[in-house]
Symmetry: D3
Subunit: 247 residues, 6 copies
Amino acid sequence: TNIHLVTPVITEGIRSLDDVTPLEKYGIKITHHLLETGPASIESEIDEALSVPGTIKKCIEAEAAGADAIVIDCMGDPGMKPAREAVSIPVLGPMETSAHLAAMLGQKFSIVTVLDSVVPMLNNLVKIYGVESKLASIRVIDMPVLEIENNIGKTQDQLSAASIAAVREDGASAIIFGCTGFLGCADAISGALAREGLSVPVIDPVPATILQAAAIVQAGLTHSKITYGYPRRKDLKGYDLPLTYSD
Amino acid sequence: TNIHLVTPVITEGIRSLDDVTPLEKYGIKITHHLLETGPASIESEIDEALSVPGTIKKCIEAEAAGADAIVIDCMGDPGMKPAREAVSIPVLGPMETSAHLAAMLGQKFSIVTVLDSVVPMLNNLVKIYGVESKLASIRVIDMPVLEIENNIGKTQDQLSAASIAAVREDGASAIIFGCTGFLGCADAISGALAREGLSVPVIDPVPATILQAAAIVQAGLTHSKITYGYPRRKDLKGYDLPLTYSD
Amino acid sequence: TNIHLVTPVITEGIRSLDDVTPLEKYGIKITHHLLETGPASIESEIDEALSVPGTIKKCIEAEAAGADAIVIDCMGDPGMKPAREAVSIPVLGPMETSAHLAAMLGQKFSIVTVLDSVVPMLNNLVKIYGVESKLASIRVIDMPVLEIENNIGKTQDQLSAASIAAVREDGASAIIFGCTGFLGCADAISGALAREGLSVPVIDPVPATILQAAAIVQAGLTHSKITYGYPRRKDLKGYDLPLTYSD
Amino acid sequence: TNIHLVTPVITEGIRSLDDVTPLEKYGIKITHHLLETGPASIESEIDEALSVPGTIKKCIEAEAAGADAIVIDCMGDPGMKPAREAVSIPVLGPMETSAHLAAMLGQKFSIVTVLDSVVPMLNNLVKIYGVESKLASIRVIDMPVLEIENNIGKTQDQLSAASIAAVREDGASAIIFGCTGFLGCADAISGALAREGLSVPVIDPVPATILQAAAIVQAGLTHSKITYGYPRRKDLKGYDLPLTYSD
Amino acid sequence: TNIHLVTPVITEGIRSLDDVTPLEKYGIKITHHLLETGPASIESEIDEALSVPGTIKKCIEAEAAGADAIVIDCMGDPGMKPAREAVSIPVLGPMETSAHLAAMLGQKFSIVTVLDSVVPMLNNLVKIYGVESKLASIRVIDMPVLEIENNIGKTQDQLSAASIAAVREDGASAIIFGCTGFLGCADAISGALAREGLSVPVIDPVPATILQAAAIVQAGLTHSKITYGYPRRKDLKGYDLPLTYSD
Amino acid sequence: TNIHLVTPVITEGIRSLDDVTPLEKYGIKITHHLLETGPASIESEIDEALSVPGTIKKCIEAEAAGADAIVIDCMGDPGMKPAREAVSIPVLGPMETSAHLAAMLGQKFSIVTVLDSVVPMLNNLVKIYGVESKLASIRVIDMPVLEIENNIGKTQDQLSAASIAAVREDGASAIIFGCTGFLGCADAISGALAREGLSVPVIDPVPATILQAAAIVQAGLTHSKITYGYPRRKDLKGYDLPLTYSD
């Protein structure tokens, strides 16, 4: 099963295939692209909006290149809905996927994320995805996305503290990382929780979503074309997208 | 009070200031721009996404040019949230404004709109705006946006039929036009409803939203900068936006 | 545009037209009445109930006297629904109007009000108005309505503290005054929030609602007569109301 | 157990103690009053509002006369909340009581009532009472309250038809009469449902609520004085109520 | 009115008829059974599941023996729904009944219960029963069911502390005991609340539910056979239940 | 990845491993058991309840035998919650899994199932799982579970008709089979929908859930032991379960 990962930013080196290599042992082949146009990181509605056109383009190209499904590498799920209109293979956002997964694994889940500025966006996504009643809280560690890598120890300490507080004070029984930049930190945070006697699942969104995407492909499923039909043909200025049209 | 209207498409002639001239008698001065980049009309998630970067740009320019508030001329409210981050003057979307207005005027409201393809988008907006319990239904007349003007009689007949059905069958007690392309049709639809003995408000979103924007300005209010803070400074490729940064 | 303000209590001097004079510069002419029968202030369900018959009467008189719209000067919105049945001009309650306005301006809003005894009433109104998912909290400063004026410094200090706590602890991104007796305090509370680095809208309900009422009139709208039809003719003892009937 | 029934209208003969005599065999002693001031029947928000002051008065008198609990004889539950502030014995409204009872007896309930004009009021009550997710529908038979008695055959036929439709088309599994004027019709409507093979509870609100009131008294319970505290002492014009005050 | 109480555990002596003797003065005759198969106490989903087959059996036997209604003596309401399919007399669970009762008596209620392990189960029940919007909180005193009796002083102290905290910190205006093992503690907890100036109803679920069951019988009501129809005849291994079938 | 499938009924031949053989090509090894005690099929709350003890036992045995995850082969998800307490490997119910999957693939989903008698149970599960806002409808084809196999043509015709109606009349954009007895019918129903021009995902719950279970195992996740802790040790009569205890 071929999964294409779109990292919807322009920052070279922020994501490498090594991050998801362990999934190959389950028969999943992964390809990857950054964007050519868009922001360096996604921490606001503006960043999110400016990542969408480039993400749609990469999704169309991935389908043309033979991908079986696409995973978008950002918890804002930028471009997921328009990309589903543009292609017929499954397009998964890690926020939507992780939220439904967490809803299955425990009574309530909390999201631990980077900055206050993304909280309303994540909260709105959880509402649209229909699982708001399962959300315990969204907690923030006040760490910009591009500083995570150089502060990995501090990041993990703060994620652990936020996760423990989410369980103890907010009633969470599962944790979702609210930024895909935290990839690889799940074991450390699970360990910290376990040392406090708290046995809760910690969802690392990118690998979890890639595996779900593969499962959806293997089940012969894709998104509804009633919800996400191809667009109507019309003039377009400033974007060069090889769209499929409904007419 | 100076209100700037951004019509988030590239189609010349689709909107003229004559459409909103009657509002000048209330002391409102209106300016207007189309987009330089974006789609010809907005009827899908893709169209909506591709109108956002150009809309943000026009909002920044309008604030710089001295507007007191901005109204976006599309029921998908494209770019409303990112534009609120980019500027400090009020930015109003007609879907959000009309939904709250309709919620105040009657027990439940229905939206009558153009095509099936915009229904999930409008439904999601109503959820995010927090008034889903006041939504009776969304009805569709199956008319592309760019064909409204040349089929105005048919459009009004179908809007009337859909509005009457919304009241009688779906329990609506107020009607919102689900496309700003229906501007100017409120009297005809109110009349058709009245002939059936149905006395319900019919909200023509653009003039209603311009008036609300003026009222918000006069009340000394604008959107929360806690929800919509200025973005963090970072690299950006492919877009040329004179952003204000939080740092 | 002529707006009539009904202050639904009998206490002479509790409201003066000077309070809303600044709105005249927007072309709004304001008239005002207290009640002839009713309570001295509204701080309980009983107070609210006993203010309703007198409020309905004042609304009928205001329409007969040529008002374009009516605003009720109490956050319990007493008599708003029955008055809408009695007249055909818009009748706005400041709780309903402020709640929808706040819902538009930020992700969540808090209400800061006088006494514990009004909290269930306000909470029920927010439920009926359909915006409960946007309510962060209701906070109380424990100050009776009729003591506000003589304790304005203390009132503003407590409103500031409650508003800061609502933002920091409850997740509010907008503030509504939960008593119209706080009229005129918005600048002080905004200032206190700003000194804490919190840039959130503070809604002073009476001026905001008068401006919204004018905008609704100018948009040619009024409440739905399907929701708020004229009543059926029937015997009535103890009240002398010049009602219009549906038959 | 002494239950006082307040019929919140002025129409002599609309209610007699014979209607509830069968409950005496369960050890319940019932007393009854009409209002001295108020409307002839309750079919609108105005009617409801004008019945409240008189209802509060009768509740205070009933407590003074030794009643153990009070039941208000109208599905608008007029005055229930303010009366609970005024007295310390339980005050039950038949809409609130029947809604919770129906919620216990089946998956969803429908309300069959008199006129379109009461539907928004009943719908708002169900929201406030917190059981909206259990409401299947509200159906109307278009029969004014004061005409029920002279059209009892037609009323029962229409109630039966509405109840059958509520079960078959709206998914109801329990029926509530949405007007206390239908007292005594439950057997006829249950029978009509049974003849269609539909075995659903039909709640006749007044006897059901009297029995619940007795059960609440016998359980040693009453409403919360945190929600419904005694009011603060203050001036009051136009009403002569022997209130108990919180101070 | 004959009410049969099923205590859905096997522990001799955990319940005696003396516990409910005071209800006889209201004309209620009570019979009682423990289970022959099942767990010693109910503190988990497993305990709950293993109490259900035995509970269904006792309900069928009680109906055959002439009971007018059945009350299940556990806040997990084990077997309530299947037992309603098996019999036609009312079967009441104390969690469902207490939740609806509390919803009527105050703005919000809290549940004070034994162990963390029952919180998700109680929370799910409140969701299914449709009154989640009235739930303030569920608090735990960390006391196993079978240790209550030998630690009654400590239990009451902790229940009092949890109830006071629920009112002061969580916004509760009514309290429900979340374990029927707390039977008889209501006066002590009401007293402790009163000493703090908090006048809130404290629901002791078993007596309150027995009284409600009697009221439902006297009102001629039972659960809907549309929701809870008799089961279809089919093979069954390992259980010996004298079922009535739908065919 | 080893997945154990528990078919929670006693009917020999109702499920064979051939049904899920195609999943082996994705590296999933499947084992299977029926129950020793329980009902022949699950079509009521009683059937569901009586399948739970046997299901818990089979789950404990499967974990001991080395399974990586367990899937319960019934849309009532019988025993899922207690089994999660009993074991530490993931236990998935196909209703929960399919509901979250469908919620991801389209705007709203409908469930097409066997009999009216299972509708309340499925509706309650969707509420507990937190995705009720995504449910369009539950439709019934009136076919007992054990008659499906001998009426496969009629079953598929009725499933197709129900699915088409769900999309056209109820607003569904995805379909879930509401009985695992429909295994293998997805292609036929998808085809029927496609012939009507309706491109919607049709979820065949058992294979979809097995694939999700494998994905969850591969992601290193399992359910939360905070929500689903091991039970406390206590006496138990009538069941012989090799439980792990929390103490």
